[in-house]
Symmetry: C2
Subunit: 213 residues, 2 copies
Protein backbone atom coordinates (compact mmCIF):
# COMPACT_ATOMS: atom_id res chain seq x y z
CA UNK A 1 0.00 0.00 0.00
CA UNK A 2 1.51 3.31 -1.04
CA UNK A 3 0.81 6.16 1.34
CA UNK A 4 1.72 9.83 1.27
CA UNK A 5 4.27 11.03 3.78
CA UNK A 6 4.66 14.78 3.34
CA UNK A 7 7.14 15.06 6.20
CA UNK A 8 9.54 12.38 4.92
CA UNK A 9 12.38 12.37 2.46
CA UNK A 10 12.03 10.01 -0.51
CA UNK A 11 14.65 7.76 1.11
CA UNK A 12 12.64 7.50 4.32
CA UNK A 13 9.30 7.18 2.51
CA UNK A 14 10.33 4.00 0.69
CA UNK A 15 10.67 2.27 4.06
CA UNK A 16 7.62 3.93 5.64
CA UNK A 17 5.53 2.19 2.98
CA UNK A 18 6.30 -1.05 4.85
CA UNK A 19 4.29 0.20 7.82
CA UNK A 20 0.66 -0.69 8.30
CA UNK A 21 0.12 2.15 10.79
CA UNK A 22 -1.40 5.16 9.01
CA UNK A 23 0.82 8.19 8.33
CA UNK A 24 -1.45 10.27 10.60
CA UNK A 25 -0.90 7.86 13.49
CA UNK A 26 2.85 7.71 12.77
CA UNK A 27 2.96 11.49 13.05
CA UNK A 28 0.76 11.66 16.14
CA UNK A 29 2.82 9.14 18.11
CA UNK A 30 6.35 9.44 16.71
CA UNK A 31 7.23 11.81 13.88
CA UNK A 32 5.43 15.05 14.77
CA UNK A 33 5.10 14.42 18.53
CA UNK A 34 7.67 16.16 20.69
CA UNK A 35 8.75 16.34 24.31
CA UNK A 36 7.11 19.53 25.59
CA UNK A 37 8.76 21.92 28.02
CA UNK A 38 5.86 24.38 28.26
CA UNK A 39 2.09 23.92 28.27
CA UNK A 40 -1.12 25.92 27.91
CA UNK A 41 -3.44 26.28 30.91
CA UNK A 42 -5.94 23.77 29.54
CA UNK A 43 -6.53 21.16 32.24
CA UNK A 44 -6.09 17.42 31.72
CA UNK A 45 -9.23 15.61 32.83
CA UNK A 46 -9.73 12.37 34.71
CA UNK A 47 -11.49 11.03 31.59
CA UNK A 48 -8.42 11.70 29.46
CA UNK A 49 -6.14 9.85 31.88
CA UNK A 50 -8.60 6.94 31.99
CA UNK A 51 -8.62 6.81 28.20
CA UNK A 52 -4.81 6.73 28.14
CA UNK A 53 -4.62 3.98 30.75
CA UNK A 54 -7.37 1.89 29.15
CA UNK A 55 -5.36 1.92 25.93
CA UNK A 56 -1.81 1.32 27.15
CA UNK A 57 -2.71 -1.30 29.75
CA UNK A 58 -2.89 -3.81 26.87
CA UNK A 59 0.79 -3.55 25.95
CA UNK A 60 2.94 -6.47 27.05
CA UNK A 61 4.91 -7.08 30.25
CA UNK A 62 6.78 -10.20 31.44
CA UNK A 63 4.31 -12.71 32.85
CA UNK A 64 1.71 -9.96 32.45
CA UNK A 65 3.05 -8.52 35.71
CA UNK A 66 2.09 -4.84 35.16
CA UNK A 67 4.18 -3.28 37.93
CA UNK A 68 3.60 0.36 36.89
CA UNK A 69 1.83 2.59 39.41
CA UNK A 70 0.83 6.17 38.62
CA UNK A 71 0.28 9.02 41.05
CA UNK A 72 -1.48 12.06 39.58
CA UNK A 73 -0.25 15.10 41.46
CA UNK A 74 -3.42 17.20 41.58
CA UNK A 75 -3.31 19.25 44.80
CA UNK A 76 -1.10 22.36 45.18
CA UNK A 77 0.28 20.87 48.39
CA UNK A 78 1.44 17.66 46.66
CA UNK A 79 2.75 19.65 43.70
CA UNK A 80 4.90 21.66 46.10
CA UNK A 81 6.33 18.53 47.67
CA UNK A 82 7.18 17.12 44.23
CA UNK A 83 8.76 20.32 42.88
CA UNK A 84 11.03 20.33 45.91
CA UNK A 85 12.55 17.01 44.71
CA UNK A 86 13.03 18.01 41.06
CA UNK A 87 16.43 19.06 39.67
CA UNK A 88 17.33 22.45 38.16
CA UNK A 89 15.16 23.41 35.18
CA UNK A 90 12.71 20.61 35.94
CA UNK A 91 11.41 22.58 38.95
CA UNK A 92 9.88 25.30 36.78
CA UNK A 93 8.40 22.85 34.26
CA UNK A 94 6.90 20.72 37.02
CA UNK A 95 5.45 23.81 38.73
CA UNK A 96 3.50 24.97 35.71
CA UNK A 97 2.35 21.86 33.80
CA UNK A 98 -1.45 21.30 33.86
CA UNK A 99 -0.93 17.77 35.16
CA UNK A 100 2.08 15.98 36.60
CA UNK A 101 2.24 12.20 36.99
CA UNK A 102 4.74 10.26 39.08
CA UNK A 103 5.44 6.87 37.49
CA UNK A 104 6.86 4.15 39.72
CA UNK A 105 7.51 0.42 39.87
CA UNK A 106 5.64 -1.50 42.57
CA UNK A 107 8.11 -4.08 43.89
CA UNK A 108 5.14 -5.91 45.43
CA UNK A 109 3.63 -6.55 41.99
CA UNK A 110 3.91 -10.28 42.69
CA UNK A 111 0.91 -10.07 45.04
CA UNK A 112 -1.25 -9.58 41.91
CA UNK A 113 0.17 -12.52 39.93
CA UNK A 114 -2.55 -14.89 41.11
CA UNK A 115 -5.02 -12.60 39.35
CA UNK A 116 -3.09 -11.48 36.26
CA UNK A 117 -1.17 -14.72 35.54
CA UNK A 118 -3.53 -17.30 37.03
CA UNK A 119 -2.38 -20.39 35.11
CA UNK A 120 1.05 -20.44 36.84
CA UNK A 121 0.28 -21.15 40.48
CA UNK A 122 3.80 -20.81 41.82
CA UNK A 123 4.41 -17.39 40.29
CA UNK A 124 3.90 -15.34 43.44
CA UNK A 125 6.18 -17.53 45.55
CA UNK A 126 8.90 -17.55 42.91
CA UNK A 127 9.21 -13.78 43.27
CA UNK A 128 8.49 -13.65 47.01
CA UNK A 129 11.63 -15.67 47.64
CA UNK A 130 13.98 -13.54 45.56
CA UNK A 131 14.08 -9.81 46.30
CA UNK A 132 16.72 -9.04 43.69
CA UNK A 133 14.83 -10.78 40.88
CA UNK A 134 11.59 -9.13 42.02
CA UNK A 135 13.05 -5.65 42.04
CA UNK A 136 14.75 -6.21 38.68
CA UNK A 137 11.53 -7.42 37.08
CA UNK A 138 9.56 -4.54 38.62
CA UNK A 139 11.97 -1.94 37.24
CA UNK A 140 12.31 -3.51 33.77
CA UNK A 141 8.61 -3.97 33.21
CA UNK A 142 7.46 -0.71 34.77
CA UNK A 143 9.99 1.06 32.52
CA UNK A 144 8.44 -0.60 29.46
CA UNK A 145 5.09 0.65 30.75
CA UNK A 146 6.45 4.19 31.18
CA UNK A 147 7.25 4.15 27.46
CA UNK A 148 3.77 2.84 26.62
CA UNK A 149 2.29 5.59 28.82
CA UNK A 150 4.27 8.34 27.05
CA UNK A 151 2.92 7.14 23.70
CA UNK A 152 -0.56 6.89 25.25
CA UNK A 153 -0.40 10.56 26.25
CA UNK A 154 0.38 11.35 22.62
CA UNK A 155 -2.47 9.09 21.49
CA UNK A 156 -4.79 11.37 23.49
CA UNK A 157 -3.52 14.34 21.46
CA UNK A 158 -1.56 15.68 24.40
CA UNK A 159 2.15 16.30 24.84
CA UNK A 160 4.29 14.55 27.42
CA UNK A 161 7.36 15.95 29.13
CA UNK A 162 9.06 12.94 30.72
CA UNK A 163 11.84 13.72 33.21
CA UNK A 164 14.39 11.61 35.05
CA UNK A 165 16.15 14.52 36.76
CA UNK A 166 14.94 14.39 40.38
CA UNK A 167 15.95 13.01 43.76
CA UNK A 168 14.52 9.51 43.36
CA UNK A 169 14.85 8.59 47.02
CA UNK A 170 13.10 11.85 47.93
CA UNK A 171 10.19 11.26 45.52
CA UNK A 172 9.86 7.67 46.78
CA UNK A 173 9.71 8.93 50.36
CA UNK A 174 7.19 11.68 49.65
CA UNK A 175 4.81 9.71 47.44
CA UNK A 176 5.33 6.05 48.35
CA UNK A 177 5.84 5.90 52.11
CA UNK A 178 5.38 2.10 52.09
CA UNK A 179 8.97 1.76 50.85
CA UNK A 180 7.92 -0.75 48.18
CA UNK A 181 7.95 1.55 45.13
CA UNK A 182 10.78 2.89 42.97
CA UNK A 183 10.06 6.09 41.03
CA UNK A 184 11.21 5.84 37.40
CA UNK A 185 10.00 9.05 35.77
CA UNK A 186 7.97 12.17 36.39
CA UNK A 187 5.88 13.19 33.38
CA UNK A 188 4.38 16.61 32.69
CA UNK A 189 1.21 16.39 30.61
CA UNK A 190 -0.85 18.96 28.73
CA UNK A 191 -1.35 20.87 25.51
CA UNK A 192 1.96 22.26 24.32
CA UNK A 193 2.30 26.04 24.50
CA UNK A 194 3.87 28.04 21.71
CA UNK A 195 7.63 27.54 21.82
CA UNK A 196 7.25 24.33 23.83
CA UNK A 197 10.30 22.79 22.21
CA UNK A 198 13.64 23.52 20.53
CA UNK A 199 14.69 22.19 17.13
CA UNK A 200 14.56 18.44 16.80
CA UNK A 201 17.78 16.71 17.88
CA UNK A 202 19.47 14.17 15.59
CA UNK A 203 18.78 10.48 15.83
CA UNK A 204 21.32 7.71 15.30
CA UNK A 205 21.26 6.14 11.84
CA UNK A 206 19.99 2.63 11.30
CA UNK A 207 23.50 1.39 10.63
CA UNK A 208 24.77 2.80 13.91
CA UNK A 209 22.13 0.91 15.88
CA UNK A 210 21.25 -2.26 13.97
CA UNK A 211 23.68 -5.02 12.95
CA UNK A 212 23.01 -8.47 11.58
CA UNK A 213 24.89 -11.66 12.41
CA UNK B 1 -15.31 13.28 18.04
CA UNK B 2 -17.35 10.12 18.39
CA UNK B 3 -15.73 7.03 16.92
CA UNK B 4 -16.88 3.47 16.66
CA UNK B 5 -15.10 0.90 18.79
CA UNK B 6 -16.58 -2.47 18.02
CA UNK B 7 -14.24 -4.28 20.38
CA UNK B 8 -15.01 -2.13 23.43
CA UNK B 9 -17.70 -2.18 26.07
CA UNK B 10 -19.83 0.97 26.35
CA UNK B 11 -17.99 1.82 29.57
CA UNK B 12 -14.60 1.66 27.83
CA UNK B 13 -15.84 3.41 24.70
CA UNK B 14 -16.84 6.56 26.56
CA UNK B 15 -13.19 7.05 27.52
CA UNK B 16 -11.78 5.93 24.17
CA UNK B 17 -13.58 8.90 22.63
CA UNK B 18 -10.98 11.07 24.40
CA UNK B 19 -8.26 9.60 22.20
CA UNK B 20 -7.14 11.28 19.03
CA UNK B 21 -5.51 8.09 17.72
CA UNK B 22 -7.85 6.31 15.30
CA UNK B 23 -9.62 3.13 16.47
CA UNK B 24 -7.76 1.20 13.74
CA UNK B 25 -4.40 2.35 15.11
CA UNK B 26 -5.50 1.67 18.70
CA UNK B 27 -6.30 -1.90 17.67
CA UNK B 28 -3.13 -2.37 15.61
CA UNK B 29 -0.81 -1.24 18.40
CA UNK B 30 -2.65 -2.09 21.62
CA UNK B 31 -6.10 -3.64 21.65
CA UNK B 32 -5.94 -6.35 18.98
CA UNK B 33 -2.14 -6.83 19.00
CA UNK B 34 -0.87 -9.78 20.98
CA UNK B 35 2.39 -11.34 22.05
CA UNK B 36 2.91 -14.18 19.56
CA UNK B 37 4.36 -17.57 20.47
CA UNK B 38 4.25 -19.06 16.97
CA UNK B 39 4.83 -17.59 13.53
CA UNK B 40 4.32 -18.40 9.85
CA UNK B 41 7.35 -18.98 7.62
CA UNK B 42 7.04 -15.58 5.95
CA UNK B 43 10.42 -13.85 6.27
CA UNK B 44 10.91 -10.41 7.80
CA UNK B 45 12.85 -8.22 5.40
CA UNK B 46 15.60 -5.69 5.96
CA UNK B 47 13.21 -3.03 4.61
CA UNK B 48 10.63 -3.86 7.26
CA UNK B 49 13.19 -3.54 10.06
CA UNK B 50 14.40 -0.25 8.59
CA UNK B 51 10.82 1.03 8.52
CA UNK B 52 10.33 0.05 12.16
CA UNK B 53 13.58 1.70 13.25
CA UNK B 54 12.96 4.87 11.22
CA UNK B 55 9.64 5.25 13.03
CA UNK B 56 10.55 4.44 16.62
CA UNK B 57 13.87 6.28 16.63
CA UNK B 58 11.86 9.50 17.14
CA UNK B 59 10.46 8.50 20.54
CA UNK B 60 12.08 10.22 23.51
CA UNK B 61 15.07 9.27 25.67
CA UNK B 62 16.84 11.23 28.43
CA UNK B 63 19.20 13.77 26.88
CA UNK B 64 18.34 12.11 23.55
CA UNK B 65 20.89 9.44 24.49
CA UNK B 66 19.44 6.52 22.45
CA UNK B 67 21.40 3.66 24.05
CA UNK B 68 19.46 0.82 22.36
CA UNK B 69 21.44 -1.44 20.05
CA UNK B 70 19.81 -4.20 18.01
CA UNK B 71 21.38 -7.39 16.69
CA UNK B 72 19.34 -9.23 14.04
CA UNK B 73 20.13 -12.91 14.35
CA UNK B 74 20.04 -13.96 10.70
CA UNK B 75 22.51 -16.83 10.27
CA UNK B 76 21.78 -20.39 11.44
CA UNK B 77 25.08 -20.37 13.31
CA UNK B 78 24.17 -17.27 15.32
CA UNK B 79 20.64 -18.56 15.88
CA UNK B 80 22.11 -21.70 17.40
CA UNK B 81 24.32 -19.73 19.77
CA UNK B 82 21.33 -17.67 20.90
CA UNK B 83 18.95 -20.61 21.38
CA UNK B 84 21.59 -22.16 23.65
CA UNK B 85 21.17 -19.22 26.06
CA UNK B 86 17.36 -19.15 26.11
CA UNK B 87 15.35 -20.65 28.98
CA UNK B 88 12.85 -23.52 28.79
CA UNK B 89 10.02 -22.89 26.34
CA UNK B 90 11.80 -19.89 24.86
CA UNK B 91 14.28 -22.22 23.12
CA UNK B 92 11.63 -23.60 20.77
CA UNK B 93 10.09 -20.20 20.02
CA UNK B 94 13.49 -18.68 19.32
CA UNK B 95 14.44 -21.60 17.07
CA UNK B 96 11.45 -21.19 14.77
CA UNK B 97 10.65 -17.46 14.55
CA UNK B 98 11.31 -15.90 11.11
CA UNK B 99 13.47 -13.22 12.71
CA UNK B 100 14.97 -12.87 16.17
CA UNK B 101 16.38 -9.59 17.48
CA UNK B 102 18.62 -9.16 20.51
CA UNK B 103 17.98 -5.79 22.16
CA UNK B 104 20.70 -4.40 24.40
CA UNK B 105 21.81 -1.22 26.15
CA UNK B 106 25.14 0.23 25.04
CA UNK B 107 26.84 1.49 28.20
CA UNK B 108 29.19 3.51 25.98
CA UNK B 109 26.26 5.57 24.64
CA UNK B 110 27.94 8.68 26.05
CA UNK B 111 30.47 8.62 23.20
CA UNK B 112 27.61 9.72 20.90
CA UNK B 113 26.36 12.60 23.07
CA UNK B 114 28.48 15.16 21.25
CA UNK B 115 26.47 14.32 18.15
CA UNK B 116 22.99 13.68 19.56
CA UNK B 117 22.97 16.32 22.34
CA UNK B 118 25.40 18.88 20.92
CA UNK B 119 24.31 21.95 22.88
CA UNK B 120 25.57 20.51 26.21
CA UNK B 121 29.32 20.29 25.81
CA UNK B 122 30.08 18.57 29.11
CA UNK B 123 27.58 15.74 28.60
CA UNK B 124 30.07 13.08 27.60
CA UNK B 125 32.43 13.80 30.50
CA UNK B 126 29.57 13.84 33.00
CA UNK B 127 28.85 10.20 32.16
CA UNK B 128 32.44 9.14 31.54
CA UNK B 129 33.25 9.94 35.19
CA UNK B 130 30.38 7.96 36.71
CA UNK B 131 30.03 4.30 35.71
CA UNK B 132 27.02 3.66 37.92
CA UNK B 133 25.05 6.62 36.53
CA UNK B 134 26.06 5.69 32.99
CA UNK B 135 24.92 2.09 33.33
CA UNK B 136 21.68 3.15 35.02
CA UNK B 137 20.86 5.64 32.28
CA UNK B 138 21.77 3.11 29.57
CA UNK B 139 19.43 0.49 31.05
CA UNK B 140 16.55 2.86 31.74
CA UNK B 141 16.57 4.50 28.34
CA UNK B 142 17.27 1.37 26.29
CA UNK B 143 14.33 -0.27 28.10
CA UNK B 144 12.07 2.60 27.05
CA UNK B 145 13.35 2.01 23.52
CA UNK B 146 12.61 -1.73 23.75
CA UNK B 147 8.97 -0.78 24.41
CA UNK B 148 8.95 1.64 21.45
CA UNK B 149 10.45 -1.11 19.29
CA UNK B 150 7.76 -3.64 20.28
CA UNK B 151 5.07 -1.15 19.26
CA UNK B 152 7.03 -0.42 16.08
CA UNK B 153 6.94 -4.11 15.15
CA UNK B 154 3.17 -3.95 15.54
CA UNK B 155 3.06 -0.74 13.48
CA UNK B 156 4.60 -2.78 10.65
CA UNK B 157 1.69 -5.21 10.87
CA UNK B 158 3.88 -7.88 12.44
CA UNK B 159 3.68 -9.62 15.80
CA UNK B 160 6.38 -9.40 18.44
CA UNK B 161 7.24 -12.06 20.99
CA UNK B 162 9.41 -10.29 23.57
CA UNK B 163 11.22 -12.54 26.05
CA UNK B 164 13.28 -11.89 29.16
CA UNK B 165 13.87 -15.55 30.03
CA UNK B 166 17.50 -16.18 29.02
CA UNK B 167 20.99 -16.24 30.49
CA UNK B 168 21.75 -12.52 30.19
CA UNK B 169 25.47 -12.88 30.87
CA UNK B 170 25.62 -15.63 28.25
CA UNK B 171 23.85 -13.56 25.60
CA UNK B 172 26.08 -10.58 26.38
CA UNK B 173 29.17 -12.76 25.98
CA UNK B 174 28.01 -14.36 22.72
CA UNK B 175 26.74 -11.23 20.99
CA UNK B 176 28.58 -8.31 22.61
CA UNK B 177 32.15 -9.45 23.26
CA UNK B 178 33.23 -5.86 23.98
CA UNK B 179 31.72 -6.19 27.46
CA UNK B 180 30.00 -2.80 27.14
CA UNK B 181 26.46 -3.96 26.39
CA UNK B 182 23.68 -5.32 28.61
CA UNK B 183 21.03 -7.44 26.90
CA UNK B 184 17.50 -6.43 27.96
CA UNK B 185 15.19 -8.54 25.79
CA UNK B 186 15.15 -11.00 22.93
CA UNK B 187 12.25 -10.42 20.53
CA UNK B 188 10.81 -12.90 18.05
CA UNK B 189 9.26 -11.17 15.03
CA UNK B 190 7.00 -12.38 12.23
CA UNK B 191 3.45 -12.99 11.09
CA UNK B 192 1.53 -14.85 13.78
CA UNK B 193 0.62 -18.44 12.97
CA UNK B 194 -2.79 -19.85 13.77
CA UNK B 195 -3.00 -20.48 17.52
CA UNK B 196 -0.14 -18.07 18.18
CA UNK B 197 -1.60 -17.03 21.52
CA UNK B 198 -3.78 -18.10 24.42
CA UNK B 199 -6.78 -16.16 25.72
CA UNK B 200 -6.02 -12.62 26.71
CA UNK B 201 -4.91 -12.26 30.33
CA UNK B 202 -6.59 -9.74 32.64
CA UNK B 203 -5.24 -6.25 33.13
CA UNK B 204 -5.27 -4.30 36.37
CA UNK B 205 -8.11 -1.79 36.68
CA UNK B 206 -7.51 1.93 36.52
CA UNK B 207 -8.22 2.28 40.23
CA UNK B 208 -5.63 -0.37 41.10
CA UNK B 209 -2.91 1.50 39.23
CA UNK B 210 -3.74 5.20 39.29
CA UNK B 211 -4.21 7.34 42.40
CA UNK B 212 -4.49 11.11 42.77
CA UNK B 213 -3.04 13.24 45.56
Amino acid sequence: MTQTHDSLTDFEAQFADHLELSPEAQDLLFRAARTANAFTDEPVSEEQVRAIYDLVKWAPTSMNNQPLRIVLVRSPEARGRLVEQMSGNNKAKTSTAPLVAVLAADTDFHDELGKVFPHFEGARDLFAGNDEMREGSALLNATLQVAYFILGVRAAGLAAGPMTGFDAAGVDREFFPDGAHRTIAVVNIGRPAEGAWMDRLPRLDYDEVVTAV
